[in-house]
C-alpha cells in the first residue's frame, strides 16, 4: 500500500468514525437522537450510491440530448422501478408517509425552470451534493445558490404582491390559515394557498378508484401503470432514438448476428440497460434504500408514538424553529432541497430576517437549528457517504471553480432553487419520489425538466462550439 493509499484510508476511517461517534454520543445524550441518526445513515447510503453510480439526473436528460448517451436515463428508470416496488409493499403495510402533490400544469413550468438550471449548473440538486463531496468548488457554489434562492423566494412580498391574480388572493384567504402566516401577503404564499392547493391530489390508484393501500392500487396502478409502463416506454424511445443505431453498427463491426429481427432488437435493448454496471448497481441500491428508509422512519415514529420529529423536539424542550403546527420538515424518505432552504432560512432568521410568517417555513416546515434538523442530518450523511466512495476510488480532488463555471453555478443554482419551490421539490422530491409513489405530478415535473434540459443543452452546444472555434482558429484542422 502506498503512502497516498494509506492517507485516503485514514480519511475514510476518519469520516466513518466521526459519524459513528456522533450517533453514539447523541444517543447517549437522548434516545430520540436515534431518529436523526436514521436519517444520517440513510444519507450515507444515498451519498455512496450516487457517487459510485455517477448518479445525476441532469446527466440523464442532458447527455441524452448532448451526446446521445442513455446510461443515466436507464439508471434512473431502473432505480424508480425498484423504489416503486418497495413502496408498493410499504403501502399495503400501511406504513407510507408519502403525501401526493397536487396535480397541475404548474409542475411542468416548475420542472422547465429547474431543468434549465440543472444543465447550467452542471448537476441536479442531488448530483451537485455528491460532486461537492468529490471536491468540486463549482458544485459547492451551486448548493449555496440553491439554498439562498429558495430561502429568499419563499418569503418574497412587497411589490411582487401586485403580480398576484385576485383569484389567488381570494382563494388563499378562504383557506382559513392561522393569521401568523399572513397567507394573503407574499407571492409564494398566495401561489401555494390560492393556486397550487386548489389542484386535486391524485395517485394512479385513486384515478382508478382504488386505495393506495390495496393490492391492486399499490401494485397494478401505482407501480405497474405509474412507474413500470411509462419507464419502459421511455427506455424504448431512448433505445430507438439513441442506442439502436450504434448497437447495430457494433454488431456489424463484430460480424455478429446479421439476421436482425426481434431477438436482435431485444438484445440491443438489454445491452442498453446493462451498459453501465456502476450506474445500475448504484440505481438499484438507491431505489431499495429509499424504500427501506420509509419503513425504518415509520417504525421509529410508531416506537416513539409520534407523527413528526417536531413532537420529539417539544418533548426535549426544544421549541425554536417549530412550525405553527408544532412540526418540522420530516419527510420520512429521501429529500434534498427543502432542508437546504431551511439551513439558510435559519441563518437569515438569526440575522434578523423574520421569515416564519410564510407558509413554507411558518406553516409547513419550520426552521429548526440545523444541528437538530432531521433532513439536514441526511444531507450531511449524503456528503460524507459520497466523500467516502470518492476517496476509496481516488476520485477526490479539490477543484477551484473558474469565473465562467462560477457564473453558471450561481445562475443554474438560482434557477433550480426557484424551480424546486414552484414545483414543491427538486429532481428527487418532485420527480423521483413522486413517480415512484404513483403521483402523476412527478411525470408532469419530469416533462418540464426534460424540456428545460433540452433548452439548456442547446445553449451549451452553441457556447462550446463558439469557444472551440476560437481555440481552433489558429490551427490547421
Amino acid at each position: 500500500m502506498t503512502e497516498e493509499e494509506r492517507k485516503r484510508q485514514r480519511r475514510i476511517l476518519g469520516i466513518l468514525g466521526f459519524f459513528i461517534l456522533v450517533s453514539l454520543v447523541t444517543y447517549g445524550y437522548h434516545e430520540y437522537y436515534v431518529y436523526l441518526s436514521a436519517y444520517l445513515w440513510f444519507g450515507i447510503v444515498y451519498g455512496m450510491s450516487l457517487q459510485y453510480g455517477r448518479f445525476c439526473f441532469a446527466s440523464a436528460f442532458r447527455d441524452l440530448f448532448a451526446v446521445k448517451v442513455t446510461r443515466m436515463a436507464v439508471g434512473i428508470m431502473v432505480s424508480m422501478i425498484f423504489f416503486g416496488l418497495v413502496v408498493a409493499f410499504v403501502n399495503i403495510l400501511g406504513m407510507s408517509p408519502f403525501e401526493p402533490a397536487p396535480v397541475g400544469y404548474y409542475q411542468i413550468i416548475a420542472g422547465f425552470i429547474f431543468g434549465i438550471g440543472m444543465v447550467l449548473a452542471g448537476g441536479c440538486a442531488s448530483g451537485s451534493l455528491y460532486k461537492a463531496a468529490e471536491g468540486s468548488g463549482a458544485s459547492m457554489l451551486v448548493l449555496l445558490s440553491i439554498s439562498v434562492s429558495q430561502s429568499v423566494f419563499v418569503d418574497i412580498g412587497g411589490i411582487t404582491n401586485s403580480l398576484v391574480p385576485r383569484s389567488w388572493t381570494e382563494s388563499a384567504a378562504a383557506k382559513g390559515l392561522p393569521p401568523q402566516v399572513t397567507a394573503t401577503d407574499g407571492w409564494m404564499d398566495q401561489y401555494l394557498a390560492g393556486y397550487v392547493w386548489d389542484f386535486p391530489t391524485l395517485t394512479f390508484a385513486s384515478l382508478m378508484g382504488w386505495s393506495d393501500k390495496s393490492l391492486a392500487g399499490a401494485f397494478l396502478a401505482n407501480w405497474l401503470l405509474g412507474v413500470v409502463v411509462p419507464a419502459s416506454i421511455l427506455l424504448l424511445v431512448g433505445y430507438i432514438v439513441c442506442a439502436r443505431k450504434p448497437f447495430l453498427a457494433r454488431r456489424r463491426r463484430e460480424r455478429r448476428d446479421r439476421s436482425g429481427g426481434l431477438a436482435t432488437e431485444l438484445a440491443g435493448y438489454w445491452s442498453m440497460v446493462v451498459a453501465s454496471k456502476r450506474t445500475i448497481i448504484g440505481g438499484v441500491v438507491l431505489g431499495i434504500a429509499a424504500g427501506v428508509h420509509m419503513i425504518v422512519l415509520r417504525g421509529l415514529q410508531v416506537k416513539f408514538g409520534v407523527e413528526n420529529f417536531g413532537e420529539l423536539m417539544t418533548r426535549m424542550g426544544i421549541t425554536f424553529g417549530l412550525s405553527i403546527k408544532g412540526t418540522v420538515f420530516d419527510p420520512g424518505y429521501w429529500y434534498i432541497t427543502t432542508q437546504e432552504a431551511q439551513w439558510v432560512g435559519w441563518v437569515f432568521q438569526k440575522l434578523g430576517w423574520e421569515n416564519l410568517d410564510n407558509i413554507f417555513y411558518g406553516f409547513n416546515n419550520g426552521i429548526p437549528n440545523p444541528l437538530i434538523n432531521p433532513a439536514d442530518w441526511m444531507t450531511i450523511g449524503l456528503l460524507g457517504g459520497a466523500a467516502i466512495t470518492a476517496l476509496y476510488s481516488a476520485e477526490f480532488k479539490w477543484k477551484k471553480p473558474t469565473v465562467e463555471l462560477a457564473v453558471w453555478a450561481i445562475l443554474g443554482g438560482t434557477l433550480m432553487g426557484i424551480g424546486s419551490r414552484l414545483g414543491l421539490g427538486c429532481n428527487v422530491g418532485a420527480f423521483f419520489i413522486r413517480i415512484s409513489n404513483g403521483n402523476p405530478a412527478g411525470w408532469l415535473f419530469g416533462i418540464g425538466m426534460i424540456a428545460g434540459a433540452f433548452i439548456g443543452v442547446q445553449f451549451f452546444n452553441w457556447w462550446t462550439e463558439r469557444k472551440l472555434a476560437q481555440a481552433m482558429a489558429p490551427l490547421e484542422v
Partner: protein, 83 residues
C-alpha cells in the same frame, strides 16, 4: 483553468478540460472529435469523474476507440482514436 485545445502534430490533438464539471468535458470532447479526421488521436485531460462514464459511453456509440486510460490523483488522461 480555461479550456485548452491544441494540435501537437499531424493527426495528434490535445484537449485539456481540467476543472470543468458536466457537461463541458463530454461536450468539448464530442465537438473536438467531430472536427478531426478518421484515425486522428485526441488526448483528453479532465478531472470530473462522471464525465468518464459519459465519454466512454459516447465512444462506444460512435465506434471511436479509447486507446489509453490513465487516472491519477483524481485526474484522467485518455487517448481516443477517431473511427
Amino acid at each position: 483553468m480555461a479550456m485548452k485545445f491544441e494540435k501537437r502534430a499531424e493527426g495528434e490533438f490535445f484537449l485539456d478540460v481540467s476543472g470543468y464539471v458536466c457537461p463541458h468535458p463530454q461536450l468539448y470532447t464530442k465537438k473536438a472529435l467531430e472536427k478531426m479526421r478518421g484515425g486522428d488521436r485526441l488526448e483528453v485531460i479532465f478531472d470530473n469523474p462522471s464525465s468518464a462514464e459519459s465519454i466512454a459511453a459516447m465512444c462506444d456509440s460512435t465506434g471511436d476507440e479509447i486507446v489509453q486510460k490513465l487516472a491519477e490523483g483524481g485526474k484522467y488522461k485518455w487517448v481516443i482514436r477517431k473511427a
